[in-house]
Amino acid sequence: MATAIARRTGKLQRSQRVFAACSLTPIMLYMMAFTLLPMIWAVIITFYRYSPTRQGANFLGLGGGNPFVGFANYLDLFADTPTGRLFRLAVKNTFVFALLVLPLNLCITLPLAVLIESVSERLKTVFRTIYFLPTVTSLVAVSLVWGVIYNPTFGLLNLVLRSLGLKGMAWLSDAQTKVLGVPLPMICLVVTYVWQDMGYNLVIFIAGLQSIPEVFKEAALVDGATSWQRFRYVTLPLLRSTLTFVIVMTMLSSWQVFVIFYVMTRGGPGNATRTLVLHIYETAFRHQEMGLAATMAMALFLIILVTTLIQLRLLRKEWEY
């Protein structure tokens, strides 16, 4: 009897395994073809001066017109040449962008989430929808609309300023005007990005707030804690997991920002808004230097990896509720 059951179970497990294998194999092949192999290919071409416009020596297009250069592409990123300087400027700009976006985003979305969480269920849905709308709107459309808002001649922002008797600004083209050392166009793009992206974090924070058991807040209330004390000493510590997730995700998306910069400024004026992904794109598809672009992508990968590890380490917690 026991042998029969074991055989039967084993048979069932085998068929389940076959089913699992059949289900997963196409996905695995898909992932290999469109994710793993391109990643491996990207690593390989970082060692070549590779451009698809040049004839290679073999079927992969490597060698010949696309010679093996060892670590030369990596060294180029640190060299005192226009290539190296532009890369480092792009890294700096992206870093500044991420550094501005993160606190601004958190300062807006977290209090907003707490406020929305405190209103009635019906109003909560309305607010959540309104704030989430920009997130589901096409980034290109958002960029174009904000481009019009910032237009120095007929843009909404300057019309408002002029109606108040103030002087209009060349929002996206005056890199000489700086706010805390950051060029004005970069500030404008930060504002646009935060406006578009904050709905996502808001929804995550609301979900995080809803997952905090009421009992903790009630206990604090019984102990006579004020609203601020309840937020500071109960809500905030219990939101740590959500906060970690939001910080990591916001940082990741900030480092990879592309569309807004591509549509609104293309890296200008000068190179004041040239970000790393934009620079990688231009190096690959405008200047046709795929090997160098892949090397920059590796650098971006490393930057993101290190940033994320540091954040995870700093925001690590030893407890669960």
Partner: protein
């Protein structure tokens, strides 16, 4: 458990085989360092593999980008060719512009590109240098014959080391004409159409056309601060002042010559002293001339004639009367540099190169077909006979100013990375100088250093 082990093994086997293949190919190319096949040997002298027997059906693939006017023109040419050569079947595929270059490049890497491709002339030298294009056979056209038939500016974009790598349809120029808004001229009581004999006259009119709302420039008298326009005006200024933007070795650039300095000074002065345009309001980021002119924000706009057919489609409701008129030049004789233009190239991997070249020849060298292509696409002809035909203006009424200057243009030359020079160096630094970040001397020094450093890095490989 067995299943899992097997799956992992299978996965590892596939992975190992794939990696071994890639690594072997990578290492072999690394180790052998075989030079790329020279362009001379990439194509057999007679134009590739022998043509199939006359009765045999030959199939050609033809690629272009998906601009509707270009597609319409090419489809008609394919139809005409099918009537003449029923044994040749042309499969026409077109791609959105943003994907077109990537499609060409990835397919070239896999040697699976189309037999005939529509390519922009300024890209051709890079591909020809890389050995990814076929040389035009002499029995299609020799180089001296081609120079007789086509204007130098578009043709020379298809030349590399003395060999021809395609045939141009279009002469892509930005110089020689400007957009003018008649209403604004009339309101300023200026003669219309303008007949400027010198730049000073244009600038004088432009100063009267500028409008302000308080301190804000609401109408630019003369808007020339565009990514493309600045580069073309810069080259023209240097050439017309008797200089050359190429250094003596014809590889590096000389952007710090007295002629270059004088030209930069002139470009900067128009914005900062004459104030015909505000470089903070009208620039690479805001109020592009091709849009701003049709929003009544610009009285005179510097842009190529290609804008006219585009604007007629994109701005049908623009109420102000407007024209494309001749623009002055500096000195006695006009001299400018142009980007080559769209044309046809053939793959060295084509199994039917003979037929591919014959179709390219049919599309570009036959006067009727070439004219049809230019009229339908709204582009300036590269073929001299088409451009010199006075009846062309019946079909393309805006081309008068451009047709007059075609013989004075030369191909801009091999810049190694055209876009870098144009946008990252010239346009960027000139706008910064107009905005007061550099002096003219600093500007030309920076431009010269940056452009030549890029060229050196490209040469070094």
């Amino acid at each position: 458990m067995n299943g899992q082990v097997l799956t992992r093994r299978a996965f590892l086997r596939v992975f190992a085989v794939t990696m071994a293949g890639i690594s072997a190919a990578a290492l072999s190319s690394c180790a052998q360092g075989t030079p790329a096949p020279s362009t001379a040997t990439a194509v057999p002298a007679e134009g590739g593999t022998p043509p199939p027997a006359a009765a045999e059906k030959v199939s050609l693939r033809f690629w272009s980008h998906s601009n509707p006017a270009f597609v319409q023109a090419n489809e008609e040419l394919i139809k005409r060719y099918a009537e003449r050569r029923p044994e040749v079947e042309i499969k026409y595929e077109y791609f959105p512009y943003s994907e077109f270059i990537q499609t060409i490049q990835t397919s070239m890497a896999a040697k699976s590109e189309a037999d005939v491709m529509e390519m922009f002339g300024s890209w051709v030298q890079s591909y020809a240098k890389g050995g990814t294009l076929a040389v035009t056979p002499d029995d299609i056209v020799t180089v001296p014959q081609a120079h007789e038939l086509f204007y130098a500016a578009p043709l020379d974009g298809y030349m590399w080391e003395g060999k021809l790598y395609g045939l141009p349809n279009e002469y892509n120029l930005e110089n020689g004409g400007v957009l003018t808004n008649r209403r604004m001229f009339e309101e300023a009581q200026l003669p219309y159409p303008p007949d400027w004999k010198a730049w000073e006259e244009l600038v004088s009119d432009a100063k009267k056309l500028v409008k302000y709302d308080g301190e804000v420039m609401t109408v630019a008298g003369f808007h020339y601060i565009t990514g493309d326009g600045l580069g073309f005006l810069f080259w023209e200024g240097i050439l017309e002042r008797g200089g050359d933007y190429f250094a003596a070795d014809k590889i590096h650039l000389n952007l710090a010559s007295p002629e270059a300095e004088e030209t930069v000074q002139w470009l900067v002065d128009m914005a900062t002293k004459d104030k015909v345009v505000d470089p903070f309001t009208f620039n690479l980021e805001s109020n592009w001339v091709g849009d701003a002119f049709f929003q009544s924000l610009v009285a005179i706009g510097y842009i190529g004639p290609w804008i006219v057919p585009v604007a007629r489609i994109n701005h049908p409701d623009f109420a102000d009367p407007w024209d494309y008129v001749s623009c002055p030049h500096y000195g006695e004789k006009m001299s400018f540099a142009a980007d080559s233009g769209w044309g046809k190239v053939v793959s060295p991997n084509s199994k039917a190169q003979r037929q591919a070249w014959e179709f390219a020849q049919f599309s570009t060298m036959d006067e009727t077909n070439a004219r049809f292509w230019n009229v339908t696409t709204g582009t300036v002809p590269a073929l001299k006979k088409v451009a010199e035909d006075p009846t062309l203006l019946q079909d393309m009424d805006w081309l008068g100013p451009s047709l007059k200057v075609l013989p004075y243009g030369r191909y801009v030359g091999y810049l190694h990375d055209r876009d870098f020079i144009w946008y990252n160096v010239i346009a960027t630094r000139l706008v910064e100088t107009m905005q007061g970040q550099h002096t003219v001397k600093e500007c030309i020094t920076i431009m010269n250093e940056e452009a030549n450093a890029m060229i050196d890095s490209k040469i070094k490989g």
